[in-house]
């Protein structure tokens, strides 16, 4: 019984790690505009700092860009390239990042 729980927990942890790594690799395609690991190089003055934002809020923003309900110059066109599952993984990765530059 205990072994089963430990196994299940380990499985959950490893699938969580896989989702985080998928999110990390997927987010890398966004970093050219939004900064490495979600840290905007402009300090968030024009674009929001994505690192450390709540996962649900990030995913909701991306879905709204994708649906065209949130106005945008470019994000509507880009969000349409990602599946809802990919959006969840990117949002999960960003939510787990520090919102300030590590010293």
């Amino acid at each position: 019984m205990n072994l089963l729980i430990v196994t299940l927990l380990a499985l959950a942890a490893s699938s969580h790690a896989v989702a985080l790594e998928n999110g990390q690799r997927l987010y890398a395609s966004c970093a050219g505009c939004h900064g490495t690991a979600g840290l905007d190089a402009g300090g968030g003055k024009l674009l929001p700092v994505l690192a450390g934002q709540p996962k649900d809020a990030l995913a909701a923003s991306m879905r709204a860009f994708k649906a065209g309900t949130r106005p945008a110059t470019i994000m509507g066109q880009i969000a349409k390239g990602y599946s809802d599952e990919q959006i969840e993984q990117i949002a999960g990765y960003l939510a787990a990042q520090r919102s300030t530059q590590a010293k």
């Binding site: 395609s29 050219g32 490495t36 402009g42 470019i74 390239g81």
Partner: protein, 425 residues
């Protein structure tokens, strides 16, 4: 220090008995050599360090002491930016343990897995990443090979001294002169770049030399990128100043007379002549036999950016044979580098690389000093086609030139410099 560790690692390897095969990989640090410190090479170096959590040694070979950005360099020609604004350095990469070697890669020994540098030093690699950019096919423009020709007629298609020199030529030109620019047949580096340059020179002329003209001599049938948007700008903001001439295939140049000569024998003389030459993969890749598509571009496996020609070698950026609708651009090189970095880290860790890589293209062009336009697309691995294809429904263009996108374009530059060089400016 690093080198001593590396040498020590080699001798340890030599003493390891055969039974230690499995442990040899862990008993010495894995070595990645990156050749070329442009957007592709810099990004690859950075992300291999990041994603291996410092476990993989990365050496970056780059002859130039500074990094000069091609993106935004047309704004230097237009007069709204200075060279200093587009000049960065490699200190950010050094700060995360990338070993910067200021030298030129002269030759690659695929059997010994080593890069020979111009200084004579050899760098051994487990994986080699080449991001050599483009070199010019001067033999297709015989007149440009005459002594002094390349000092008179500039390309300014590698940002740097050529950018500053072309700016000086424009500054010295009398009002009423013609600036003519030749564009080679696609594919070439930065598809919208020539048209953005035409806008920037016209912007400068409209302020400082209003009787002058911009003449675009394009080998292609039509504007290669953002065509409708650029043509709308030329017809409105720069009416009577910009002339676009398609299907002008430049076959030769009389540099002393500042004259472009088409394959049909048409001659166009200009006060300032700017020749963008036809291009191929950077010479180190071409010399090493990696340019296996028309002897110009390097074919790669888009899952890993591994060369299809040599084992343990990856090629990035403008030098590759692109997948459908993939431009040769800084943004793409930065994106290639991250797919490649992920694959290199996975492969050196004995894992299989990400089976479903994606990348995005985002490209801004400045049409005045304060208005910009964009084109964007999202590309994903297609297992059936075995290449990266645009995700249906993704991507698009600006509706029209606008000011907010100029601010986004500047933000883009700051972020991609930082993402590639690990240095905020």
């Amino acid at each position: 220090m690093k080198r001593r560790q590396f040498v020590k690692g080699i001798s340890a390897l030599a003493l390891t008995p055969l039974a230690g095969c499995a442990s040899t990989a862990s008993s010495r640090r894995r070595q990645v050599v990156v050749v070329g410190g442009g957007f592709g090479g810099a990004t690859a170096a950075k992300y291999i360090r990041l994603w291996s959590e410092g476990a993989i040694d990365v050496t970056l070979v780059e002859p130039n002491p500074t990094f000069i950005s091609c993106p935004l360099s047309n704004l230097v020609l237009g007069g709204s930016m200075q060279m200093a604004d587009i000049t960065l350095g490699y200190a950010g990469l050094a700060s995360i343990g990338v070993r910067i070697v200021r030298d030129r890669a002269a030759q690659i020994d695929f059997d010994k897995q080593a890069v020979m540098l111009a200084s004579g030093q050899a760098l051994r690699y487990d994986r080699l990443v080449l991001s050599p950019g483009v070199d010019f096919l001067w033999d297709q423009l015989p007149g440009m090979q005459r002594p002094g020709a390349q000092d008179t007629v500039l390309h300014a298609w590698h940002a740097g001294t050529q950018t500053a020199a072309l700016r000086a030529q424009l500054g010295a030109m009398a009002d009423g002169g013609v600036f003519a620019m030749t564009i080679p047949p696609a594919p070439y580096r930065c598809p919208p770049g020539p048209y953005e340059r035409a806008c920037q020179v016209a912007h400068y002329f409209s302020r400082a030399k209003p009787k002058s003209k911009v003449l675009i001599l394009d080998a292609n049938d039509d504007v290669v990128s953002k065509g409708k948007l650029f043509k709308a700008i030329w017809a409105t903001r720069y009416a009577g100043m910009v002339e676009y001439r398609p299907r002008f295939m430049t076959a030769d140049v009389d540099a002393a007379a500042r004259t472009a000569i088409s394959e049909l024998g048409d001659k166009v003389q200009a006060a300032v002549l700017n020749v963008i030459p036809p291009q191929r993969a950077g010479s180190i890749a071409a010399q090493a036999g990696l340019a296996n598509v028309n002897r110009r571009w390097c074919e790669v496996d888009f899952l890993t950016f591994a060369s299809t020609q040599a084992a343990n070698v990856h090629v990035l950026g403008d030098a590759i044979q692109a997948s459908p609708l993939m431009p040769k651009s800084a943004h793409m090189a930065n994106q290639h580098a991250k797919i490649c970095a992920g694959a290199v880290v996975d492969l050196l860790n004995g894992k299989s690389p990400n089976p479903a890589p994606m990348l995005t293209n985002t490209c801004y062009s400045f049409v005045t000093d304060r208005e910009a336009i964009h084109v964007a697309s999202v590309h994903a691995w297609d297992a059936a086609a075995k290449t990266l294809l645009v995700v249906p429904g993704s991507g698009g263009l600006s509706g029209a030139a606008n000011e907010p996108e100029a601010a986004y374009a500047m933000s883009w530059a700051r972020n991609i410099w930082s993402d590639s060089l690990n240095q905020v400016r």
